[in-house]
Amino acid sequence: MSVSPISDYQALKALLASKSESFWQELAKRTAQSRQFYDFSFLSTLRRKAIARDFLPSSGNVRKSKLALLGGCTLFPLSELISHALYMQDNHCEIWSGDYDNYVWEMTDESSDLRSFRPDFVFLLPPASRYKYSGKLSDSKESVLDELTKNCASILELCRRAHEGTGAEVILCNFILPSYFDPGEIRTRVMASEWNSLKWLNMEIGLTAPPYVHICDLEFLAARKGGLEARDDKAWFESKQPFSADFAVDVAREVAHIIRSVRNPAKKVLIVDLDETLWGGIIGDDGLNGIELGDTSARGECFKEFQRVIKELSDRGVILSVCSKNDMHNAVAPFEKHPEMVLRKDDFASFQANWDPKPDNILQIASELNLGMDSFVLIDDNPAEIDIVSQFAPAVTGLWLGTDPSDYIRCLRDSRLFETRSITQEDANRASQYKQDENRKGLLLNAESMEAYLESLKMQAHINDFQSVDVPRVAQLINKSNQFNLTTKRRSEAEVASLVDSDYVCYSLRLQDRFGDLGLVSIIIAKKEKTDLIIDTWLMSCRVLKRQVEHLCMNELFSRARSLNCNTVKGFYIPSAKNQMVKDFFPTMGFTQVKTSDEFTEYETRTGEFKEFDTKISVLRGPNDKG
């Protein structure tokens, strides 16, 4: 994929020219996504241009650190890339690069410039040519291991000297494996091959390095990218570049990641959504037998495998919690009764299933676990939930899983949020120091900010009388919705079709917001009888709960009641096994209870007494609207 490097930077340049604060946000976002050398270095140039104009980010927590780069190769432009990656994670790093291939002296001599630089981190990129096995392919395994053991020890000795001389943490690169075919499959059969000997050396380095040495795992990074993509022979011979230009970006990002992770503990708590996250479908609507989970379908298999990945995190010490918009008894049913569930209820330290906003529930989890919200990660299939959490509980890291369950595993496993740094987990207990007060500080949710949040969603609704084209979707909702459904009256497609252009008042509402189209989300059917307008069906998708959709529908209903000269609107709540959440719908909408029995409760409001609700949804009328 080739993006023109010319037009692609115009927007950023304009933000820079006007010194807009969003320049830095946009630059950070672009940098986080950037994987190509030319893109990454252009972003770095823009950053340096801003700094040259005294236009600095207004970020609160800037760290300053010192990084020394050493190795048997040219360390520019790697140094520039690392500097940019660190700056964009608020680490304004001073970088010192050693002379070409002079690292042994620099790391061991007490009068070296490395000592006087006093680095916080020393990055070492040793040349493979010096440490790979020097003998012949036919040499014995013993002689290979003998030499490599010494080579490993000599690399680690350099690290020790640098660490003790400067106090710095050491970031040590291991070796990229060769990617040419030569010498053929014999490479796997003798220890003396470059392939096997470097693999063994990498393993030995990893297994014997002390805790102050952090491995920059080039073997892994190159395998991830592709061995041929990681090197560039011309760049090596022309200017002693150790990597291809694009791979240098991967290495720079890795170095920045290591530096950050040394100072910031990994996340401790994984909060999971349920519907469309742990299983396919909506448990409250589809029921235990209707959700997709397990090996009978491809989607079901994705969800099951995703649960296994989460279970593995839990085995590694990550604390799991549930935060789901559901009735509790629906939410727990799969954990207790579904045979394909990998996760069980006692895998979770906290279990929140209700209809309150997720930030409230996350606060509840924080107080139950007595952990700081900055150690929390929320995964959800709904981008609006991620957004509301990032607005009202900004300390929590939100991870949107995307729309395809086959991407979920990669999304979570590539998030780099739960990387284990040591088997002993020394800092596991530090968590209890977090205070609840700090949690509250992070939570900004109140009625006023909720309004602002809804406004920021830029919601638009289309209210339409039933159209023939909508009949299948309307019938599907009427027959599937269980939870936000006042009367649970089912109708066949033919019955729905007969409502089109009938004397029933029947309309649907489609909602879209800045995240996209939510589709047809609410249906109202009512019938005029004398001077009453009687609500026959009122249902809504739970995806749009607390979005003021019901308020908008109510405004619409009363406007229609007035134009039909009805002086009263009547509604019924008919309880079912699944619709407790709307038990108090009519009272909260200002209706008065008229009578009640086991089968139903009846409510009414005089048309003249109805006060229109304010909403943050703008209304667009459909083309064939009659109301």
Binding site: S2, I6, S41, T74, P77, K234, E238
Partner: protein, 80 residues
Amino acid sequence: MTKADVVSKLQDVFDNVFVEDVKVTEELSANDVTEWDSLSHITLIVAVEKAFKVRFGMGEVEAANNVGGLADLILKKLQA
């Protein structure tokens, strides 16, 4: 693509690589730009290769003395 087109596109590449403002002409050479040293030259050449979707051979770029020479080289690569 004419030589003038190449030079004009090079202007964008230079803007993306150097912090200081550089007016790109055929006569411009490394001596005229403070930042254009042997290190930033590496970044510049990779950027040029990406922008024009060409790949220079060993030593080819060194033979070009100024932007005009570089533009000729790019044109030769584009026609090859």
